[in-house]
Subunit: 154 residues, 2 copies
C-alpha cells in the first residue's frame, strides 16, 4: 500500500503546453466507496483501490493487470460514462505536475495535479495554475462519472 | 478473464471428512455489484472481480496481491463481517469438490461446490451431498456478509 498526497488545481492558461507529451487514459469505476478503479494508461491496465481521503492524503493500492482484462472490465462492469482524458507530465519547480485534459462527457475540464510526499512538502505554483480544488469533491474522477462536467450548471 | 461454472450443494453428512486437508480462507468484499473480493487463502492474497451470474456461469478476474495488502484491505476497507471458512478439497468421481466449513457469523453452514468446465459437463454426486442451492442467492458468499447464516430464521 502507498499513501497518495495530491493537490489539485484548475488550469487557467495554456502555459504548460509547450513540448508536453501526453498519454491517453481511459478509466472507470467498479465501486465508488471504496473507489475501485480500472485504468488503461497507454497500453497498460491497472486495478486501483483507494480508501477514504484523510485530509489531502489517501491510502492507495495499485496492481498492473493485463490490457485485455482492463478492456473487458471497462466495457462490461464499470459504471458509465467512462473517464477519457489525456495526461501530460509537466516538470516545474523540481516537481512533476500532471495536467489532465478531459474528453467525452467531461470535455472542457482541465486540471493540474501535484503529488507530494506529504501535506507539509513546500511547492511553488506555476502561473498557468488557478484556484485550488483539492477539497472540492466534484473534481474527483469518481465524481466526474456520476456528475460529468458537461452537466454542471453555469 | 475466466468464466466460472459452479454448482453448489448443502452437505448432509461427514462422509467427505476422512483424510481431507483444509486451507483457511478469510475474505471480504469491497463492492457487491459487481463483486470485488479480497481473499487470503493460506498465506496468499487475492483480489477477484466477479461479473453478474449468467445461469450457473460467471465471468471472473483474479489477481494475486501481497499478503500485507490483503490484510490491510480486509481490516480497513472491506464490508463487515468478514467471511471466515476452511476449504477442503475432496476428490470424487474424477472431479475435485470444494467443501467450505464456515466459521464466525456463518458457523454451522457447510456447503460443497463443484467447478465444471461448462454447465453441460456431467458429474455424479457423492452421498454426503444434499439439496442443490446453486440458484439460491442466500448462499453466495457476498450474501453471507450482508445476511450471515446465524441471522437466518428457522
Amino acid at each position: 500500500m502507498g499513501t497518495e498526497t495530491e493537490r489539485k488545481f484548475l488550469v487557467v492558461s495554456d502555459g504548460w503546453k509547450a513540448g508536453a507529451v501526453g498519454t491517453r487514459y481511459r478509466q472507470g469505476y467498479l465501486s465508488f466507496q471504496p473507489a475501485v478503479r480500472v485504468r488503461i494508461a497507454g497500453d497498460q491496465g491497472y486495478l486501483t483501490i483507494k480508501g477514504p481521503p484523510q485530509g489531502m492524503s489517501r491510502p492507495e493500492f495499485e496492481y498492473p493487470i493485463p490490457l485485455e482484462d482492463a478492456l473487458l472490465l471497462l466495457e462490461t462492469l464499470c459504471h458509465k460514462p467512462l473517464i477519457e482524458k489525456t495526461r501530460y507530465r509537466v516538470p516545474y519547480g523540481g516537481h512533476i505536475w500532471e495536467v489532465d485534459v478531459f474528453e467525452g462527457e467531461n470535455r472542457g475540464l482541465v486540471v493540474a495535479e501535484l503529488e507530494l510526499p506529504s501535506e507539509q512538502t513546500p511547492a511553488c505554483w506555476p502561473d498557468w495554475v488557478g484556484a485550488e480544488v483539492s477539497d472540492d469533491p466534484r473534481y474527483a474522477n469518481a465524481s466526474l462519472v456520476q456528475h460529468p462536467y458537461s452537466e454542471w450548471g453555469p
